[in-house]
């Protein structure tokens, strides 16, 4: 480790010691919102449009047509991979796994990963003008989503400086390249190690079957936002495939965030802009895969000169790149997976500074580079009474070759603090087949880091699926998150106490099955959970981080799903949660109740589909009370042929004003209002 003589963050100001930093702004109060009139809308549609004539196709459809055929009724034995790091039935997985599919993304008009996560019960996506954060069951995500593990086709995305998990414009792939997103709530450290404290989000990208040939996608909004995606993919006669994709997303004038008085708009708006570029190249042949990609995001923001308080502009930028390779196969009766990846990230914030004799540009930069390696072996074997076990052994290794903070006035010598580290995780999991559709899963993982504490995290899950489409799961596990480099450095520079790892223990009971007395295709699910959290790492404005006291989170979820006809789908879920610290205080801005719903329906015009979705949240309490609010989204999708999608949609139908807060200690609530429209098309050319 190297320690420069001057510490860049010793003043503990919000700027520049955050990712990418924002100065405090004055919020305005939101309005009190009623529960959805759009829920009435969806209910009316449901009650009046439910009868559908059912006819079998006159002849056996072609293979292509079968791939586009909607299933009538609920899906059973849906394939998921997040709960055990390998493909298995959702009914038999040792965790509840939520899935948002490619079809859901297109039909609901979901614009980014944040929109996708908003569909999932138990997740809240909160924007605060600095970052987009996802809370799980009312527990805040930490500064930059470090308490949730993000995976891209198995590649760990949380960076090695802030543990940041990007979910908006900074995300690696365009939303239209996503095949599905899986979310497994609860402790995942027994398989994944650190960061899998509150859950694991696994983003699976599309393959050459759905991306074949040239494709172009353009989305635009009346306020000048334009998103484009160009891609080309090919699957060869041998079965090998390759893909190249480039996308951009520009918003010339994002909505000003904190209810700034209108008289300042003319001055502030030119300073606010946002653009991102993404690229992805990859190939697969058999079990071998290789992929490279990256994202560049630049944001213009208004800020204030520290001395005079005059308005000025600043620029925050993010650069993230990765190279990923892997092999899956079978060797001597063992299922084998090996993978190697390299990643780099750079966060930079620049703004004018008038504290010196002349105005200078100050720059804060956080740079990270790291290697990841993983190996996994799996084997099934018979027990003495004819039962079978499937045992998985795994090893994860990470080498942080660079973790550097730099503070500099351009043209002057930089002030650097640079570090490196390494960590190793070893895990074993045994899935004991007690009966054809009954499992007992036991697992444990040990993680150790150079110069840090080691952590053991066990899990146990009993799963019983009497029939496909039904499951009862009892799950218990622990998880941890070590302080990230930024948290440790900030506290060390401030002379504050070293931080201890966050730890969590959860017990959950979940059921899913057919809805009694309902037609086929209707299911319901219910779950209750109890979580104990210790040593949550939090900080207030202009303070170092500190481990908080014991906290408890309890709650439950109830949901109904229906699938009928040729593409009718209704999802409705209600979640209640109670989060309390040892002293009785509650998690800042954690709602007690949330409601989520969506309704997808084919219309009378062929290949035309209308989808409505939304959510409602109860009042939230922090430094101020934020009223509950409801949101509705509508999206119309026309697919006249395989080659074309044309769509138009609106967020916040009804243009309601609302306020939200991420709960991060140093940010202020954000006010939003107005309907956000988008329209666009996707064109798919013929493949070779």
């Amino acid at each position: 480790m190297t320690q420069p003589t001057r510490s860049p963050c010793s003043a503990l100001r919000t700027l520049p010691c955050t990712l990418p930093s924002m100065l405090a702004r004055t919020p305005t109060a939101g309005q009190f919102a009623r529960i959805l009139w759009a829920l009435e809308l969806g209910t009316g549609l449901l009650l009046s449009g439910a009868a559908v004539a059912q006819t079998a196709p006159p002849d056996l459809p072609s293979l292509e047509d079968l791939l586009r055929t909607e299933r009538r009724g609920a899906a059973v034995d849906v394939a998921v991979s997040t709960a055990s790091r390998q493909a298995q039935s959702a009914d038999l997985a040792p965790a509840v796994t939520r899935v948002v599919s490619r079809q859901d993304i297109a039909r609901l008009g979901l614009r980014d990963l944040g929109d996708i996560l908003r569909q999932i019960p138990g997740l809240e996506v909160r924007e605060d003008g600095e970052f987009t954060r996802v809370a799980v069951r009312g527990v805040a995500p930490g500064d930059f989503n470090g308490r949730v593990l993000f995976l891209l086709d198995g590649l760990r995305l949380n960076d090695n400086v802030y543990d940041a998990g990007p979910i908006n414009r900074e995300f690696f792939v365009d939303v239209s390249l996503i095949e599905r997103v899986e979310f497994a709530p609860g402790p995942g450290s027994a398989l994944y190690g650190g960061n899998a404290l509150l859950g694991v989000v696994n983003i699976v990208t599309q393959r050459a079957d759905t991306l074949a040939g040239p494709q172009a996608r353009v989305v635009f909004s009346p306020k000048g936002q334009v998103s484009t995606r160009l891609s080309y993919a090919q699957r060869l006669d041998s079965g090998a495939e390759w893909l190249a994709a480039f996308s951009s997303d520009e918003e010339p004038h994002p909505a000003l965030s904190f209810g700034e008085p209108e008289r300042y708009y003319a001055q502030l708006k030119p300073l606010e802009w946002d653009r991102a570029r993404r690229w992805l190249l990859g190939g697969r042949d058999g079990g071998l895969s290789l992929r490279v990609g990256g994202v560049l995001r630049d944001r213009g923001l208004y800020s204030f000169l520290p001395k005079s308080g005059d308005i000025t502009g600043s620029v925050d930028s993010v650069r993230e790149n990765f190279v990923q390779s892997g092999w899956d196969g079978r060797l001597a009766d063992w299922d084998v997976h090996v993978g190697l990846a390299w990643q780099g990230s750079r966060f930079r914030s620049e703004q004018a500074d008038d504290t010196g004799p002349a105005i200078r540009t100050s720059r804060f930069e956080a740079l990270g580079r790291w290697w990841l390696g993983e190996a996994r072996l799996g084997q099934s074997w018979g027990g003495p009474t004819g039962d079978t076990h499937t045992t998985t052994l795994g090893l994860d290794w990470q080498r942080d070759s660079l973790q550097r903070f730099r503070y500099v006035y351009l043209g002057e010598a930089p002030d650097d603090q640079a570090y490196s580290s390494a960590r190793l995780g070893f895990y074993v999991q045994d899935e004991w087949r007690l009966a054809e559709r009954q499992r007992l899963v036991l697992g444990v993982r040990r993680d150790g880091a150079r110069g840090g504490e080691s952590s053991w995290n066990p899990r146990a899950a009993w799963v019983w699926s009497p029939e496909p489409g039904q499951s009862l799961k009892l799950m218990w596990g622990t998880a941890f998150r070590a302080p990230n480099r930024f948290e440790s450095v900030l506290n060390a520079n401030a002379g504050a106490e070293p931080l201890r790892p966050e730890r969590l223990r959860t017990l959950e009971l979940a059921w899913q099955g057919p809805l009694p007395a309902a037609p086929a295709g209707w299911t319901w699910q219910a779950s209750v959970f109890s979580t104990r959290l210790v040593n949550l790492i939090e900080r207030g404005a202009n303070k170092p981080y500190a481990n908080s006291a014991l906290a408890q989170s309890r709650g439950g979820e109830l949901g109904v799903n229906g699938q009928w006809g040729a593409g009718w789908q209704l999802q409705l879920s209600v979640m209640g949660q109670r989060n309390r610290a040892d002293d009785g205080g509650r998690q800042a801005y954690s709602p007690a109740r949330t409601l989520k719903w969506s309704l997808q329906m084919p219309l009378a015009v062929e290949n035309l589909r209308l989808s409505l979705s939304g959510w409602a949240t109860s009042a939230r309490f922090g430094d101020e009370r934020l009223p509950g609010y409801a949101q509705t989204r509508a999206h119309l999708l026309w697919q006249p042929s395989r080659a074309w999608d044309v769509f138009i949609g609106a967020d916040n139908v009804g243009a309601r004003a609302y306020s939200e807060s991420s709960g991060a200690g140093y940010t202020l609530p954000l006010r939003r209002e107005g309907t956000r429209w988008q329209a666009g098309f996707t064109w798919r050319g013929e493949g070779p």
Binding site: W37, E40, L41, G42, G44, L45, L47, S48, G49, V52, A53, A56, P57, L60, S62, L63, L66, L67, R68, T69, E70, R71, R72, G73, A75, V76, D77, V78, A79, V80, Q86, A87, Q88, S89, L92, S101, Q103, D104, R207, D209, R235, D237, G239, G286, G287, D328, R330, G378, S380, T390, R433, E436, E467, P468, Q563, G565, Q569, P602, L603, A604
Partner: protein, 171 residues
């Protein structure tokens, strides 16, 4: 006025002709189509039937497969048999459809078939790592399939180009 909106939209959202299939019929249709795109090393002789052996399926799934048994595969009529013993799979099966949920049981059946020219198709999400030729993948709104090309070639089977192009994954 707000309450009129649902009714107005409901009027606009008129009944639409269902083109969906239930899970079992969709799966059976996939199996038949995939078999039609397969070439065996020894073509079925004239007057002979192509044998589809099924094991581990739920009754509705088996019924859906039997409903399609009148359709030919490569010009040969299809005969559906139900098996309970893996050792029977090595005898007179050109297609083996397995509905067992776990990889270990699937491997028992695949092991019984050996390297015989049998198109092994399975419905479990664990099917690919069990070593089947084709795995049917259940998705939230429909179905897809993955191909183990190496396993198919090892058995002397030739899968037509559309199968490889349309597969979700090819190994």
């Amino acid at each position: 006025m707000k309450m009129m909106a649902p009714l107005l939209l409901a009027a606009a959202a008129a009944l639409s002709e269902a083109q969906g299939l239930d899970e079992d019929r969709l799966r059976a249709a996939f199996v038949l189509r995939l078999a039609q795109y397969t070439q065996w090393p020894t073509p079925v002789a004239e007057g002979q039937t192509l044998s589809l052996c099924a094991a581990g399926l739920q009754p509705a799934g088996l019924e859906a497969v039997r409903a399609l048994s009148s359709r030919p595969v490569g010009g040969a009529p299809l005969r559906v048999r139900t098996l309970t013993d893996p050792r029977d799979a090595a005898r007179d099966c050109q297609v083996l459809l397995l509905g067992h949920p776990d990889a270990a049981t699937l491997r028992q059946w695949i092991g019984a078939v050996g390297d015989a020219p049998v198109l092994v198709v399975a419905t479990s999400p664990e099917a690919m790592r069990a070593g089947v030729c084709i795995a049917l993948i259940s998705e939230p709104q429909g179905m897809a399939f993955a191909v183990n090309h190496g396993e198919s070639k090892k058995r002397g089977l030739s899968l037509a180009a559309p199968v490889l192009k349309l597969a979700r994954e090819v190994r």
